[in-house]
């Protein structure tokens, strides 16, 4: 049994853990990151499961990762390059398609083929959603104030929060009407929201996709409009809402972060699962690993979701009972699956004209909101959606590093897939049955698709839970609903990255501002640790 001492231990080498670790190492601390898997990256990984094909096994596209973080950690030096999407498309059963493009006016021209009114409504819609993005952007970097506290920090924080909510700096201030709009937006369903702008089913279905990805809400569920915002508030170089691929797969992000961490003297230890947080007199002082080693540190930062952190690796007796209850009630329902497919060539999708940049990014085949809600109804019954919503893309169309020239890698994200499968739960046979079902669904739109398949990896919420460590397979490490956002995330009173245990912190997506490969929870948590250690912070993020 080895005993190791560091300034900081980070539990879990996901993107937030590595972001937090890198910021702390840059500030001069001796940081070690302990990772249970033999590989690094959490849900931002690129693994070669079939020779010659690199997959983005879990997360697959990048937009939310804060540019300030990429800048501060100099991720380009360690190989990170973002490749913007060219467009997106929804294929229709009548052989037509609906597409969005990198160029706004091309998008308008495209929508107009389906509805003249929608094409113009899209201008108003874009403005309103962009306004919401501008409002939320400064909030992402903030530690949420505790609204019940009278500490000067929280009082000023609440004022700051209110100021941003009125978009004083970003937009020169909002009027009463716009503030009401914002509040409505945060609580509405995406169906109701889109109905206020658009008439055609296909426009609404294409746009609503972003509101259901990763969430256990349907398009008619209140709160789903916010999920759309969560997917729009990222950017690719000032193009708000744009998405891109990470060159070499999502693993390139965590690989680059690891590069930064190491350059500043930090260390990642894969294959070192933390099984217990060692406490003494209400303080966290170290961790024990499955291998039997002990690590001690001044500060411990957990990148595991709040349930895993406090219900699995921390003794319940060292925590306040009410806190434990709240953590148990934290909603973290898995709702998504994924297929990673090794293809021998480029599949044809006859709905989309050859060379149309609309086929260069995400592709879908859900034509109405009702279909989407139907897919959600299956999930509620504990079944995978018979007619699922898929977000599929072929990164190798843009990225030359995933596979050999001429070969292709396809990522298919599937909504909805339950964690607790009805009638006996998941087993290998049912997992493969699910995989075959998705392949069949795609093949309806691509005649040569099945013939090109060399191999595919099927991921259900169960794999996300077991392998990656996302409880119930929830990709956001906790549902993105108002009761679990900002000062409520993960638990009211503990939204400032600190925990009931002194010297123990949280940096996972279970904390503000939530999921997606954003890095903000990690950077925010690092800031709080550095404040508590009286270490000055520098950089563009703070």
């Amino acid at each position: 049994m080895a005993k190791n001492t560091h300034d900081v231990i980070v539990i879990g080498a996901g993107h937030n853990g590595l972001t937090a670790a890198s910021y702390m190492a840059k500030a001069g601390l001796d940081v070690v990151v302990l990772e249970k898997n033999e590989w690094i990256g959490g849900a931002a990984v690129s693994r070669e499961l079939y020779p010659g094909w690199k997959y983005s096994n879990c997360s697959y596209v990048c937009s939310l990762l804060r540019p300030e973080i990429m800048r501060d950690l100099e991720l380009y030096k360690y190989g990170l390059q973002i490749i913007p999407y060219e467009g997106s498309a929804t294929m229709m059963r009548n052989g037509d398609y609906y597409a969005h493009y990198h160029d706004h006016d091309m998008t308008i021209n495209s929508i107009r083929r389906h509805s003249h009114k929608d094409a113009e409504a899209y201008e108003r819609y874009s403005r309103d959603v962009l306004r919401q993005c501008k409002i939320i952007k400064p909030l992402l970097k903030m530690t949420p104030p505790d609204l019940t506290s009278f500490k000067p920090k929280d009082l000023f924080g609440a004022l700051e929060f209110a100021k941003h909510f009125a978009a004083k700096d970003e937009l020169g201030g909002l009027g009463e009407k716009e503030i009401y709009d914002t509040i409505r937006f945060y609580t509405m369903s995406i169906r109701d929201y889109l109905d206020e702008y658009f008439e055609s089913d296909i426009t609404k279905a294409h746009l609503a996709g972003s509101a259901i990805i990763g969430t256990a809400l349907g398009p008619c569920s209140p709160g789903s409009a916010y999920v759309l915002l969560h997917h729009y508030m990222g950017e690719v170089d000032g193009s708000v809402g744009a998405w891109g691929y990470s060159r070499g797969g999502m693993g390139s992000i965590t690989k680059a972060m690891t590069g930064c961490l190491k350059a500043h003297g930090g260390e990642v230890k894969p294959d070192n699962e933390v099984v217990n947080v060692i406490t003494k007199n209400g303080r966290a002082i170290g961790v024990a690993t499955k291998k039997g080693d002990e690590y001690y540190a001044k500060k411990i930062v957990s990148n595991l979701d709040v349930k895993r952190t406090f219900l699995k690796i921390t003794e319940e007796s060292s925590l306040p009972g009410e806190f434990v209850e709240r953590v148990k009630n934290f909603k973290i329902r898995g709702s998504s699956g994924k297929l990673n497919i090794a293809l021998d060539g480029l599949p044809e999708f006859p709905c989309i004209p050859e060379g149309d940049p609309g086929g260069g990014g995400d592709m879908h085949f859900t034509e109405t909101i009702e279909e989407m809600e139907g897919a959600y109804d299956d999930w509620k019954r504990g079944e995978w959606s018979r007619n699922p919503y898929v977000d599929m893309c072929i990164p190798s169309k843009s990225d030359p590093t995933m596979v050999a020239p001429g070969k292709h890698y396809m990522s298919v994200f599937i909504q909805y897939v339950p964690f607790n499968l009805a009638n006996g739960g998941w087993n290998e046979e049912r997992k493969q049955e699910f995989g075959r079902h998705i392949v069949d669904c795609i093949a309806e739109f691509s005649p040569n698709f099945k013939d090109l398949i060399n191999h595919y990896e099927v991921r259900t919420p169960l794999e996300l839970d077991n392998e990656v460590g996302l409880t119930e397979g929830n990709i956001f490490q906790g549902e993105l609903t108002m009761d679990q956002l900002m000062f409520n995330r993960p638990v009211p009173g503990y939204a400032q990255y600190r925990t009931p245990l002194k010297n123990m912190y949280m940096c996972s997506s279970s904390t503000h501002p939530g999921g997606g490969v954003m890095g903000a929870p990690g950077a925010n948590a690092a800031r709080e640790v550095l404040i508590d250690m009286n270490i000055p912070q520098t950089g563009n993020y703070y």
Partner: protein, 399 residues
């Protein structure tokens, strides 16, 4: 309707039939009297091609001169500030040249075939200057601008693309090396040079080969993320690489209306190309020697890393007392580095001895009003981005 051919409008390059077909936006500009695309589809995607795949740019409008004659090597060494006496055959060198007052006229590349044959590529027309400078040398000049078609093929997969096109063993070509090929029945000169700061090549051929070369390269790069690339994207990559642009970052000496705008090599970060210990005389040597000895250079051209994400286009640079100390000559948000960078011409000692407490006043347009941003700047190395693959031998291949 037939046009009277004595009237010469903007010229079309031998690639025009292809570049115009590839253009989805119909955006063109006038480069040295030629019509070439500023943008084909979206600048962001074109830029990405140069950092991710292969970008293709029509370089034909570049001024190109053949320098022939028994004194060609001596003449070239006399013309430019850099010592080229040791330059090997089949290599390329980056050069600048000055007028007698030691003020920079232009920068460019010189291709050496042999002691008696060179090619000079540059931005500003120099045919007349070459003749004026050639007194006493046995040299002759040929303006090859219209008679040489040129393409820049740049980006991480560019070597693989060109190998598919037929350039055997290209991965072994060193940076600033060049090699003569015969591909599809035409002579093609390939040099490992470029303006993007990445792995990349430039191809020089007979205009009659232009369309075949374009088509064959596009086919060769089909699976290697190839994309035509316009002037706007080139501007982005060259800023990241820290390359200077005549009449953007400094005024060409012979073109400056205001004598105070002329710059010496020391004032635009090109001092490293001035070899005062070169045995023979070169144009401007006397003035440059004096400037070096007295240390009276007035300006400098530096890289700036600027706070925030709003590009400091055209910004005035101030010290902490709000005194004007210079101007931004080129600025951008770098998509690769996620940094707000700029090239700036500063009044010394700013940029040389004083590198802190420098500010850019940025006017960011916001729906018919300007947001004034007072952004802190750091003086940094002008070469912002230089990936390892740029100079790697053998070059990266994608197979």
């Amino acid at each position: 309707m037939n046009r009277d051919l004595r009237f010469t409008a903007l010229k079309k390059t031998p690639f025009h039939s292809r570049t115009s077909l590839a253009s989805r936006t119909n955006k063109y500009y006038n480069w040295n009297g030629f019509t070439v695309p500023t943008e084909y589809s979206t600048t962001e995607l074109e830029y990405t091609a140069a950092r991710n795949g292969t970008s293709v740019m029509d370089l034909t409008p570049m001024c190109k001169y053949m320098i022939n004659g028994s004194n060609a090597n001596k003449f070239v060494d006399y013309l430019v500030t850099r010592d080229l006496s040791q330059m090997e055959d089949n290599t390329v060198a980056y050069i600048i040249w000055c007028n007698e007052d030691g003020k920079v006229m232009d920068d460019g590349t010189i291709f050496k075939f042999s002691n008696t044959k060179f090619m000079l590529c540059c931005a500003v027309k120099i045919y007349n200057w070459l003749h004026d400078s050639a007194e006493g040398f046995d040299v002759s000049f040929e303006d090859a601008t219209d008679t040489t078609a040129a393409l820049a093929i740049q980006g991480p997969t560019s070597c693989s693309t060109l190998k598919n096109y037929g350039a055997e063993d290209l991965e072994l070509l060193k940076p600033f090396g060049m090699k003569q090929y015969n591909i599809n029945g035409y002579d093609v000169l390939i040099s490992r040079t470029g303006f993007t700061g990445d792995l990349g090549y430039e191809l020089w051929t007979d205009p009659a080969n232009a369309e075949n070369m374009w088509d064959s390269i596009m086919e060769a790069g089909k699976e290697l993320k190839i994309r035509p690339f316009g002037m706007h994207a080139l501007e982005m990559t060259r800023i990241e690489a820290g390359f200077i642009q005549t009449n953007t970052d400094f005024m060409a000496a012979e073109g400056s209306l205001r004598p105070v705008r002329m710059r010496s090599p020391y004032e635009i970060g090109m001092g490293w190309l001035v070899h005062l210990n070169k045995e023979s005389y070169f144009v401007g040597k006397r003035a440059l020697k004096k400037e070096k000895e007295t240390g009276n250079s007035e300006r400098c051209l530096v890289g700036l890393d600027i706070d925030g994400d709003k590009p400091a286009v055209g910004s005035v640079i101030y010290n902490e007392k709000k005194e004007d100390i210079g101007i931004v000559t080129a600025a951008m948000w770098s998509p690769t580095m996620k940094r707000n960078v700029a090239l700036a011409s500063l009044k010394r000692p700013y940029g040389i001895k004083i590198k802190e407490n420098i500010f850019a006043e940025i006017y960011h347009p916001e729906e018919l009003e300007y947001k004034k941003i007072w952004a802190k700047c750091k003086v940094v190395k002008r070469q912002f981005f230089s990936p390892e693959r740029r100079n790697k031998v053998p070059a990266d291949l994608y197979e």
